[in-house]
């Protein structure tokens, strides 16, 4: 039995000194924790920036900041949230959970793992330092379209180097995850028996390796255009500004799925646990993930429907984009069917998972709408799009991360948290996230462009409501922190199998998980897997 093997590990040989424990660590659990703490810090910084944005947008007229600073805020908010908050949070969860879920003693490349993480704080110090430089932070939008972005000051160079560093970090993290999953599975943990979370990360890691070099190339061309006299994107020198957009979105669209596939994996772990029923259609779930990942490479230009592509291009990218709705629909239907005729309870993680399914689907609906090219000629670059991607990224990706932390927290710390407070945190977040983002659909349809610091008075009311939602959301990181801090100090002891419906190898080791687990590979018993018997 796995428990047997795990308890006979020489656990608790944690390094004693603070630097030894955290700076020099090669332990997947500690590195996972570092990623999650880093991500939490970035969420707070990014949320503060969105606070500036929504405060300025609360009323028509400029009250607080100059338009240029507003643009710095929108640009930095996106970069911090995407590269600093969402992506590292998923990598942190992968670090913690992938070895535990496949019965591996650690990641395949533990020293590189340390380096992957410790690059990140330096990257973000570079990026955030631009806020204090003459000329200010980058203000051309997180998409960094030339020629506009090249008008910025030397903060642009810092942003580009920061992106190079984040890219190196992510690529090393991805290599590590692939090496771990392909080489370190316990005997009997066949590929098609792996938990869906592990599958989702295997596929995401391939996406990262495929597209981050493309981003690095694109921003390097920006760098040489700005400082070394090249004309990749400069029309006056024979370059093409639209080429940048094609290259950027060839990275950017798979990037969108990099931020949502691990969320699909998380939901596929949480729902069966609290439905006490095997995941419905395990193989279809895995194939749908692979299918979405493949399609993500051939839809990039739907971000650019209004740049003036030929008719054939517009139609191709519309059809390809619409196709993504099919595998995504399969996933939603399968989660729903997993709940059907289950034995449901609604502990905190389950609430976040259900909210994810509903609200992510709403984000998916506006995704299908924006895929319809002629209609996108109206939606493009409006608040409708802002609403769409915040539904996908906040009530989608971020909610799944919070759900995952509530789900695995007892395993990490050996403590339960106060479920009532967790539910208050949940309901508070759901209400204010919707107050924040739902009215933005209306604003976009009524004609409000995105990335503007001030607007016509007709847009005043919904902007006011949206800002109220933003101020409500601003409290949620602090609630979360308090609940977890309280749990760590005073929480009740958690069982090895903290949730009675939980399946999978991670629940066979004690809570908290010992510093070293699975030094001896566990025996994989099919009945212990979340998706039950997958032999047919």
């Amino acid at each position: 039995m796995a428990t047997h093997a795990a308890t006979h590990d020489h656990h608790d040989e944690k390094p004693q000194g603070f630097l030894d424990r955290w700076l020099f660590t090669t332990n997947h659990k500690d590195i996972g924790t570092l990623y999650l703490v880093f991500s939490f810090t970035m969420v707070c910084i990014g949320a503060a920036m969105s606070g500036v944005i929504r405060a300025e947008l609360m009323k028509p007229g400029l009250q607080l900041v100059q338009p240029y600073f507003f643009n710095e805020m929108t640009t930095m908010h996106a970069l911090v949230m995407i590269f600093g908050a969402i992506m590292p949070a998923f990598v942190g969860l992968a670090n913690w959970m992938v070895p535990l879920m496949i019965g591996a003693p650690d990641m395949a490349l533990p020293r590189m793992n340390n380096w992957s993480f410790w690059i990140l704080p330096f990257a973000f110090v570079l990026l955030l330092s631009t806020l204090f430089m003459p000329g200010g932070a980058p203000a051309g939008g997180w998409t960094m379209y030339p020629p506009l972005v090249l008008q910025g000051g030397n903060g642009i160079a810092f942003m580009i180097f920061a992106i190079h560093l984040m890219g190196i970090s992510s690529i090393m993290g991805a290599i590590n995850i692939i090496a771990t999953i392909l080489n370190m599975r316990a005997p009997g943990m066949d590929l098609l028996k792996m938990p869906v979370f592990v599958w989702s990360w295997l596929i995401t890691a391939f996406l990262l390796i495929a597209v981050l070099p493309v981003l690095a190339g694109a921003v390097t061309m920006l760098l040489t255009d700005k400082y070394f006299g090249t004309s990749f994107f400069n029309a006056a020198g024979g370059g093409d500004p639209v080429m940048y957009q094609h290259i950027f979105w060839f990275f950017g669209h798979p990037e969108v799925y990099i931020m949502i596939l691990p969320a699909f994996g998380i939901i596929s772990e949480i729902v069966p646990t609290f439905a006490r029923k095997p995941l419905f259609g395990y193989k279809a779930m895995v194939y749908a993930l692979a299918c979405i990942a493949f399609l993500s490479f051939i839809v990039w230009a739907h971000h650019m429907f209004t740049v003036g592509m030929p008719l054939g291009g517009e139609l191709f990218f519309m059809y390809a984009t619409m196709l993504i709705a099919v595998p995504t629909g399969v996933k939603v239907f399968n989660w729903l069917t997993t709940m059907w005729r289950g034995s449901l309870t609604f502990e905190t993680p389950m609430l976040w998972a259900i909210a994810f399914v509903i609200l992510f689907t709403i984000g998916g609906f506006s995704g299908v709408m924006t895929a319809v090219v002629p209609a996108d000629f109206q939606y493009q670059d409006t608040y409708f799009v802002v609403a769409h991607f915040h539904y996908v990224l906040v009530t989608g990706a971020l909610f799944s991360i919070i759900g995952a932390i509530y789900y695995w927290w007892p395993k990490w710390t050996g403590r339960m948290y106060n479920d009532k407070w967790g539910k208050i945190h949940f309901w508070w977040s759901v209400v204010f996230a919707n107050v924040l983002f739902f009215p933005q659909h209306f604003l976009g349809l009524a004609g409000m462009p995105r990335r503007i610091p001030d607007y016509n008075v007709a847009f005043a009311d919904f902007n006011f409501i949206s800002s109220i939602g933003a101020f409500g959301m601003f409290f949620t990181p602090f609630m979360f922190f308090f609940i977890l801090w309280h749990s760590k100090r005073h929480g009740a002891k958690a069982d090895a199998r903290a949730w009675d419906g939980a399946r999978g190898l991670e629940w066979t080791v004690p809570s908290p998980a010992p510093y070293h687990t699975f030094s001896t590979p566990p025996l994989v018993d099919d009945s212990l897997l979340a998706h039950g018997d997958v032999s047919h």
């Binding site: 338009p67 506009l148 006490r276 095997p278 008719l311 517009e314 239907f333 008075v457």
Partner: protein, 302 residues
Amino acid sequence: MKFGGIWRKAGAWAAASALASGAAWANPQPWQLNLTSGVTDTSRQVYGLHMLAFWVCVGIGVVVFGAMIVAMVRFRKSKGAVAETWSHNTKLELVWTVIPVLILISLAWPATRTMIRMTDTSGADMTVKITAYQWKWRYDYVDYQGKPVNRVGFISKLDSENDRVRQLGSGLDPWSLKSADGFDDYLLNVDHPLVLPAGVKVRFVITADDVIHAWWVPQLGWKQDAIPGIVNSQWTQIDEPGIYRGQCAELCGQDHGFMPIVVKAVPKAEFEQWLTAQEAASAVDQAAHTAQTNVPTPAGRG
């Protein structure tokens, strides 16, 4: 108007919702929830596609969320629900793969037809060249009914009254600005509107001089990026005379939010009059300019 009168606003909102499927507002309204059908055939088709996609999503949403609610109510452990153990059903999975494909085809088909129509800029009676600058538009009338237009072009930017009110800490009330027809035109008014004839197919050639911008008037049903080094084309045929407002839709720097567009559509005869007057004025200007440069330099001055 301040946020205060919420009940009065709620009434307006109810009215707005009732109107949401039909009425065409020329300009954004408080509490507006939806796209408007606009003032061109294209914009009405776009609106139709938008509503089709919307109702498809509502339909799917009712089924999926309805089933979820049923599951959450009926299959609770606290009500004694016992979990089944089945984990797949190939037939069912096939059904919910195929049905979405069919729904998507039914969306893609009309979208393709509209798209083909939108990209057909042939047979236009008139050409206007739009050039975007940080942070203003230049309109040049190129030809009208097959004849070249003689030097009619002008810069169009946020009007000076608006520009004063919009400054940080101006202390001026955005609600104080009203257009002649009573519209609160804060940030949506320009010094020189683009004058176009109603009922005429107009081709636009769109480019930019510095960074990328996008020319968008929601009532016309589309936006188009204005890109330095690239000339994009689009077209419109406005049914009704009126004032139609829009703004730049692609981030273009600090004053991106202060780069409005106003189209003034007038009856054809009135437009022709206006165009002739503009051509005459530009000819006079031109003559004056030529005369000035030909003035002989007085002797003894360098």
